[in-house]
């Protein structure tokens, strides 16, 4: 079984919040057998939400609010036993995807509709889904992992905001980036950077999404190689721009062998953006600059 461990500042986060992962819930995905290939019978409307893995739930549960939004098809009624007694509940058909990791999608399952009072989540992943996985919980280190039936995916959830900075770069620039990462780490700055993942693919995309959503800033190393690799670098940039919607600047551009005009041509968003320049600013200056920003916003 593959194993992946993410840095975690406080091992008690797992004890406090439990094992959570992001899911995408929607109506069942049913394919039209009359057509060649796989054609879903309906457009997939869905909603992303955090879900808590709950070994105390024999079935997967969604709140009435989540079901109303998704307009899921009703298929049955059943009875649920909870601490307060037993309740009749509706049973809906749904699909659950795992957009941030590589677990096999569940295209059809029955979900129970229950209120989840005092819980800031809308879904409990129950033992019906757990029966498909190997689920490992390490309370001593604060890590947990899932391995699905394909044996492909293990994901350990980093808590929100665990990284100070995400580094977006082209693999051709590692001779500049790796010393920068070392200097950032030496300055006690938590860095999302994995040189082994810097080839494009689904795994990388989910890794980037995790890095973006769990980082306070994004350093983007703009180089000629970066500007050519529009396919994945645009995905990263879009994710960073989403984080800037509240007006706070989180993208920290570094020009590496390109001019400000090159940058402006790549994206008009950078026309007025002050960028550091690897030919003028030392790694130490870049680290000091970021350290100062982190101090201002801590």
């Amino acid at each position: 079984m593959a194993k992946h461990n993410s840095p975690r500042p406080d091992p008690t986060d797992l004890e406090k919040f439990g094992p959570r992962l992001e899911i995408e819930v929607g109506p069942p995905i049913i394919y039209d057998r009359s057509k060649v290939g796989q054609h879903a019978l309906a457009a997939h409307r869905s909603s992303r939400m955090p879900a808590l893995i709950d070994t105390g739930a024999s079935r997967t549960v969604l709140t009435p609010e989540a079901i109303d939004v998704l307009d899921l098809p009703l298929v049955d009624y059943t009875t649920v036993s909870r601490a307060g007694g037993t309740d009749p509940v509706a049973v809906y058909a749904a699909s659950i995807l795992f957009p941030r990791d590589n677990l096999a999608p569940i295209e059809l399952l029955q979900v129970l509709c229950c209120e989840l009072p005092s819980q800031p989540i809308q879904c409990l992943i129950g033992r019906d889904i757990l029966s498909r996985w190997v689920f490992a919980y390490n309370g001593q280190t604060g890590d947990w992992s899932i391995d699905d039936e394909k044996g492909l995916a293990v994901w350990v959830e980093p808590p929100e905001g665990v990284y100070d900075v995400f580094i977006s770069h082209a693999s051709e620039d590692k001779s500049f980036v790796e010393p920068l990462v070392s200097a950032l780490k030496a300055a006690d700055i938590k860095v999302w950077y994995d040189k082994d993942r810097m080839t494009w693919g689904d795994d990388l995309r989910s890794s980037i999404d995790k890095g973006l959503s769990n980082s306070r800033f994004g350093i983007v190393v703009f180089s000629k190689a970066f500007l050519k690799k529009r396919r994945w670098t645009e995905h990263e940039l879009n994710g960073l721009f989403v984080k800037e919607r509240d007006g706070e600047k989180v993208i920290l551009p570094i020009r590496h062998g390109v001019t400000q005009d090159d940058l402006a041509k790549y994206s008009s968003s950078f026309v007025d953006r002050i960028a550091m320049d690897s030919s003028k600013n030392s790694v130490e200056e870049i680290v000091a600059n970021l350290k100062s920003l982190l101090g201002q916003r801590s």
Binding site: P27, I30, V61, D76, T78, T79, D87, P88, A90, L108
Partner: protein, 78 residues
């Protein structure tokens, strides 16, 4: 919503209760699909049953998919 008595699929549930004894004899542990007053058929698992219902009634329709068992299960959620 979750604790309210059934307000949809009532005709289907009535049909199930009416025929349960007979269906238990011939289709125990299978999944029956019912829409209105007509059972569509019996299937060995939920996926087959639901897919057959979608093929017959469409992706957006409500229809009953119920396992034919002598005692209704109670699911625990803690």
């Amino acid at each position: 919503m979750s604790t309210a008595p059934p307000t949809r699929l009532t005709a289907e549930l009535e049909l199930y209760e009416t025929n349960k004894h007979e269906w238990l004899r011939d289709h125990r542990d299978e999944f029956v699909v019912v829409k209105g007053n007509d059972p569509l058929g019996f299937y060995t698992n939920f996926h087959e049953a639901y897919s057959a219902g979608v093929a017959e009634y469409g992706i957006d329709a409500d229809f009953l998919v119920k396992r034919v068992v002598p005692q209704e299960p109670v699911f625990v959620v803690f």
